[in-house]
Symmetry: C2
Subunit: 204 residues, 2 copies
């Protein structure tokens, strides 16, 4: 790894400010002026280092996704039952809510509605998350009688969509109460599913 | 119903233009100038009739939600099995994709990240959709052995989140191929669930 130069430090600071601005003010508030105010630097630095606000936002997404995917990969490693998967998903989701990483993705997705180039970047950055969910599902269902019948990529796409939607909705629900209840519901459903997979009655 | 006045017609035209602008250009593109250009009227009319762009967007959401919820209510009436529910959901979702109604809601949700007042309006407009999903779920599970164990409001919230997330993601996926596969997956899962509910083996 090359030693950090002053340029790296400035870039990091701009990336951090862009992340915070997206999380706190959303895509509609992520102007050069707002980002510079968040990071307490001159907005000309954004254009000097990243060319445009759009390119800065894409770079912010790419950096955040890389970090997240690495973190997810470690936590998913070794999970083989559905109940554990729901627990890990709930824990990761709570951490993401805290950090704001999914908020940022959801905001950029909304912004991409009018910007196909950003749309491509978002899809590219989001795909590794979907792939991780798929990997976790394959681990969980390995050896079960329905293993061969499950459309893993579609399930992973559906689960990723569910998390995105939950994120958008729960942002508007200040106490996040509903969201916690969703995870206890998933817990219950995964318990039922495990009973079914094991050939036991639905409710244990 | 009172007869239409010239004022109503102008307001309708502004509402239609705001809807189209949100669907085509997203929340970041929904400026007074863009909306006026879409509807080919003077942007001063927006401020005269609605006070602000934000209030116009909220009025657009309220009108669209009212129309949608009415349409959904009619279609959900009488559904009593899970397979039919998935079919109706897929059909309604395809229509919404075509019209852009969920896109509009997702865009306003993203915009609400930096605007608590819009957030409240979005939550209020979205709640009747969640309520309808809950009603459909109660119809489908009425009389089943697990009827009393299901957390209907949480399930409805989860399903609504899934649809929102699917909408955001599939907007970025130009051929909507993945989305169709999601519905065939739901079909498969609902078939399995019905087998389980009826006490038959998982795969019929």
């Amino acid at each position: 790894m090359p030693p950090k130069t002053a340029g790296d430090t400035t870039k990091e600071r701009i990336l951090d400010a862009a992340f915070d601005t997206l999380v706190e003010d959303g895509i509609t508030g992520a102007s050069a002026r707002a980002i510079a105010a968040h990071g307490e630097f001159n907005q000309a630095l954004i254009f000097y280092h990243f060319g445009s606000v759009r390119d800065l936002l894409i770079a912010t997404l790419e950096r955040s996704s890389q970090i997240q995917v690495e973190r997810y990969r470690e936590r998913i490693e070794g999970i083989t039952d559905l109940g554990d998967m729901v627990h890990v998903a709930a824990a990761l989701h709570a951490e993401d809510m805290e950090r704001g990483s999914i908020t940022m993705v959801a905001q950029l997705m909304a912004g991409a509605a009018s910007d196909p180039e950003m749309g491509e970047a978002v899809v590219k950055a989001f795909q590794p998350w979907i792939d991780l969910v798929e990997r976790a599902l394959r681990q969980v269902f390995a050896g079960s009688p329905i293993e061969a019948f499950l459309p893993y990529p579609d399930m992973a796409y559906g689960i990723s969509s569910l998390f995105l939607g939950l994120e958008l909705l729960s942002k508007l629900d200040p106490d996040h109460e509903q969201e916690e209840r969703i995870f206890s519901m998933m817990n219950m459903v995964s318990g039922m599913l495990e009973n079914v997979i094991a050939g036991k009655p639905l409710l244990g």
